[in-house]
Symmetry: C2
Subunit: 162 residues, 2 copies
């Protein structure tokens, strides 16, 4: 079956390199991949412009003392969805925020420096938002992988597996 992916081997290799070290210079990538520096740069620019990759500095919450994480499952009043979304996104402790299937379902992950802060948030922080009900929550003692560590498969670039 022919693959009509819009990416090729060079894209795959560039993304691999940038994923491992986004500060690597285009010249060095070009050297490693036996390609022209100008070509590499244009590819990188296009990958960024097309929002295929987003170069950023991911901040480690633990370095700032945020050692506790909790997943919170919410029931949100549909009439106030816009306000609720806005309120949740404005909370700095919220590190993840997603909609569930039903129009009322939302889930967040939040980080805290200690159990008191977490408890305070669960009891007074989150419930202070009008239209929000905490359906349940679960402590998350250890996170082993996050989206920023994700990489597509080789096949996603229209390439055969090794």
């Amino acid at each position: 079956m022919p693959n009509k992916s819009s990416f090729d081997l060079l894209d795959y290799q560039i993304i691999q390199e940038l994923h491992a070290d986004v500060r690597m210079s285009s010249s060095e990538i070009a050297r490693k991949l036996n390609a022209n520096e100008r070509t590499i740069r244009k590819r990188i620019d296009r990958l960024i412009a097309d929002e295929v990759i987003r170069p950023t500095a991911v901040v480690n919450p633990q370095a700032f003392g945020y050692v506790t994480a909790v997943d919170i499952f919410l029931d949100a009043e549909p009439d106030q969805e816009d306000e609720i979304v806005k309120a949740l996104l404005s909370i700095p402790e919220v590190t993840y925020f997603a909609f569930g299937l039903g129009s009322r379902e939302m889930s967040i992950e939040a980080r805290f420096k200690n159990n008191d802060d977490m408890r305070e948030f669960l009891r007074h922080g989150i419930t202070a938002i009008p239209g929000v009900l905490v359906k349940g929550y679960a402590l998350v003692p250890r996170i082993l992988r996050n989206i920023d560590e994700w990489m597509p498969k080789k096949e996603d670039f229209g390439l055969e597996t090794d």
Copy 2:
């Protein structure tokens, strides 16, 4: 109350700039912050060495056709924890993986290109791992924030709020 944060205003500003655009040159950051380029570079190197920030290219699953996400809650046989962790981390579709409170509890988030792939994973992919039981799962139609977008508060740098 005096704050004994190990970070200062300059660190805060540097992280802000890099978070917004990690490709920004040290020279440009220095210009924006009225600091010396050498100073900025050393600060950046230290922030990276101390694992406060991790410069990377976050890959957008949607750009590769991964349009569906599902949260899966697992019951894992404690005796086989090591093997299960290894197996889960080796699955490319898994974009999030965390332990729950109990020694048996794990949760993952996985991405798929379509519902068939997701269903296949739920019915045969995940359950093929010895010692793993799917307790439940929930579709995630839309994700509004992820950890890579997180930034500490100004107070976390030992600074007053505006």
